[in-house]
């Protein structure tokens, strides 16, 4: 979807441009920018984009929400916007109303499980939960009594061991020890932890693609400013070729991520090979692009890009960090490989061509 057709993404773009300038944020070590930004995002209804009006949200379409995430990635945004959107989406699956304020989702890794106990309480541990420390509520997917449930949990009732991820954002371990949820309902038929991980993976893919677009942009600009050997470095063929490869990685990430988002936005069910292929591929390919593309962006910037003062790390490190959330590319590659093997050699091309 072209941006100009998407008023929601345009609103997000404007808020980030006004209140989340990368340079300003980078220099403000106290985080004074966070509150006004979050407030503006909330006033625009963005954190609850995917929650319908009657459940307390702003009722944007899936497609509109996805493009907000791509924009957020371009600004390497370090408030829990994506997490709150995802949490609202999860709660909505079970028609649980979303509260105000920051939220995040657990589990955030396919390896962790939260269990629903016989007494209706929740137990379990979730590692690598983005922004848990900043969240007022958690949207939780739980397993138990032979079925899958979705719950809203008050963050204050959980134990949070705080951690910091590669990108400098909160990445915490959350332990639930017989916590009574504020609300709990059965997940819709066919919805399971894989569904949540795939959706989370697509969210991260769009953010990674956005961060790569930004890295391409600042790298091209820098190469046109920096002079060495009496020339702009953009005039050196080796530098041009590096930037051409960065453009390729950025384009591949964007193509994979938007294709997966489009697939989910127009799917009747999230429980089929097409969604799996698209979402898993997006996470795998975007993660690879983060590594290759981020590496090139740093190379082009030389030492300056390696400093704290420069904004490059805001994008490069977050893109690298996002690879690990909701299943790493290695995890999804194994799962996708297994699916392909089970379907068999003669079904591989039909699967690829079906998209």
């Amino acid at each position: 979807m072209a941006e100009s057709e998407n008023i929601v993404a345009e609103t997000a773009e404007k808020i980030f441009a006004d209140l989340a300038d990368a340079q300003t944020i980078n220099h403000d070590k106290q985080g004074a920018w966070k509150a006004p930004l979050w407030q503006a995002l909330t006033e625009a209804g963005l954190p609850l984009s995917w929650v319908p009006d009657d459940l307390g949200g702003s009722g944007a379409s899936l497609a509109e929400g996805f493009s907000v995430l791509n924009v957020a990635g371009r600004h390497a945004i370090a408030v829990p916007l994506a997490e709150t959107m995802l949490a609202g989406w999860l709660l909505t699956q079970a028609r649980i109303a979303s509260p105000d304020g920051e939220m995040t989702v657990l589990p955030a890794s396919p390896k962790d499980r939260i269990t629903l106990n016989a007494d209706g309480s929740l137990s379990g541990r979730a590692r690598g939960v983005p922004f848990a420390k900043d969240a007022k509520h958690f949207a939780v997917l739980a397993d138990g009594n032979g079925s899958i449930s979705i719950a809203l949990v008050d963050a204050a009732k959980c134990r949070i061991e705080s951690g910091v991820g590669l990108g400098g954002d909160h990445n915490d371990t959350v332990t639930l020890d017989k916590v009574q949820p504020a609300a709990i309902k059965p997940a819709p038929k066919g919805f399971d932890q894989t569904t949540l991980m795939l959706m989370g993976g697509v969210v991260r893919s769009l953010q990674i693609a956005g961060a790569l677009e930004a890295m391409l942009d600042i790298s091209v600009r820098y190469s046109n400013e920096r002079v060495a050997f009496e020339k702009k470095i953009s005039k050196f063929q080796a530098v041009q070729h590096n930037l051409a490869r960065l453009a390729g990685e950025s384009a591949a990430a964007l193509a994979a991520a938007t294709s997966a988002a489009d697939t989910i936005a127009s799917a009747n069910s999230l429980n089929n090979d097409a969604v799996f292929l698209e979402a898993a591929s997006a996470k795998i390919r975007c993660s690879e692009a983060a590594e290759k593309g981020g590496g090139i962006a740093h190379q082009v910037h030389g030492a300056i890009g390696f400093t704290n003062e420069h904004i490059l790390h805001r994008y490069s490190l977050r893109a690298l960090a996002w690879r690990d959330d909701f299943g790493s590319e290695s995890y999804w590659a194994v799962e996708l490989g297994k699916l392909v093997a089970i379907r068999g050699a003669d079904e591989l091309w039909p699967l690829v061509a079906s998209r």
């Binding site: 051409a244 490869r245 453009a247 384009a251 964007l254 996708l336 392909v340 050699a345 061509a353 998209r355």
Partner: protein
């Protein structure tokens, strides 16, 4: 943001899927009838004139061209489906592929009407084979260094010089070639080349086969000695071929043939590892599938741009760059992943043979149709660096 590279998620419309079924059914019949072996991409000669006619009879050549020239006025996306299904099946497309993709569109744009009426319907019927005469011994990447001369006579031109690496020249009926009609100018070193339609199998042309490291004979040296081309065989502007040649290359650069040439080894790898792959094979296959899926999504997206009448030069170059690097690495990755597959796997032998051929093929993939380095230069220009 600077260069906004958009690859919108274009989907193939429903009628493409109907067409895909027809193409698959046709190919299955051809395979059953023994026309070609889908597991043997390394066949000696990829030329199959009768097959070519049958593809033409289906209406799958010149699909996007006007009906009055034998075309079907169908979309680029429909043509895309036919191309990818043929490619994945390892169908013998040599005789018609270049004409359909590239030469026909050039004639449509630049040839006089009587030539269009003569040749285009025959291309559509799968009867004629085309070659591309761009490269010369001292002019490859630097196309504009071409020296083969076209000297004006009363009613045409006399050609003298040598083209090289000319794929299919040995079986071709025609070649679309660029020749030097005047020297380059100071302001524009690309000036002075003209595009011509050349009839092969005439006196004054000698085609000398050149063997390839795969053991195949696909490209040739073509020597012109006082070869006569009539005036009405000039295509487009005299001395202005540089504009035409670069737009022609856009057709060459983003199609499914730019990442599917070694695809067959991936299929055979999946067959060889079976239903319960170990973690290493599963992970390797998963990555390769994610990569080919992404490539294809990008390539379909560019086909959508072409269909919408855009000129996606940078996007097409990106697809060719990433696509050819990928298809070049693919046989090597498959070899890595197949290392622990049991010797007794049912298709181990087929896989080995295919790998052998794909590894031999791989080096050319990033050279033909414009080298990686040249493509990256085009992308860099698109980014505003040149």
């Amino acid at each position: 943001m600077t260069a906004a590279l958009r690859f919108d998620p274009i989907r193939l419309p429903e009628k493409c899927e109907q067409l895909r079924k027809e193409v698959r059914a046709f190919l299955a019949e051809e395979i059953a009838a023994g026309t070609f072996d889908p597991h043997a991409p390394n066949r000696e000669d990829n030329d199959a004139p009768e097959f070519s006619r049958r593809v033409g009879a289906k209406g799958w050549l010149g699909m996007t061209w006007p009906k009055k020239y034998g075309g079907q006025e169908r979309s680029f996306l429909e043509r895309y489906v036919v191309t990818e299904e043929m490619r994945v099946a390892n169908a013998p497309t040599r005789r018609f592929f270049v004409a359909d993709r590239q030469s026909g569109p050039v004639l449509l744009k630049y040839a006089p009407e009587h030539i269009k009426m003569d040749i285009l319907p025959r291309i559509c019927r799968g009867e004629v084979c085309f070659a591309i005469g761009m490269s010369e011994p001292n002019s490859g990447s630097d196309l504009f260094a071409a020296k083969t001369r076209a000297t004006k006579t009363d009613d045409g031109y006399l050609i003298n010089g040598t083209k090289i690496w000319t794929s299919s020249a040995h079986i071709a009926d025609y070649m679309i070639a660029i020749f030097r009609t005047s020297p380059p100018t100071k302001e524009n070193r690309r000036h002075g080349l003209t595009q011509f339609l050349v009839k092969m199998k005439q006196p004054g042309i000698q085609v000398n086969p050149i063997g390839q490291i795969t053991g195949q004979f696909e490209f040739n040296e073509v020597v012109f000695t006082d070869y006569f081309v009539p005036d009405d065989h000039v295509l487009g502007e005299v001395d202005g071929a540089w504009k035409q040649a670069t737009s022609e290359l856009a057709y060459e650069r983003s199609g499914p043939e730019r990442f599917l040439e070694t695809y067959y080894v991936l299929t055979e790898l999946v067959r060889a590892v079976g239903k319960n792959p170990d973690t290493r094979s599963a992970e390797g296959i998963g990555r390769l599938v994610a990569q080919v899926h992404t490539m294809r999504r990008m390539s379909v997206s560019v086909a959508g741009m072409l269909q919408a009448g855009k000129e996606p030069v940078v996007e097409a170059s990106i697809v060719k760059d990433i696509g050819t690097v990928w298809e070049q690495q693919l046989p090597h990755r498959v070899r890595d992943l197949a290392a622990f597959v049991e010797e007794t796997a049912t298709n181990r032998e087929t896989l080995e043979k295919q790998l052998d051929f794909a590894i031999k093929t791989a080096p050319k993939l990033t050279i033909q149709g414009g080298t990686t380095e040249v493509l990256r230069g085009i992308i860099a220009r698109g980014l505003g660096l040149r």
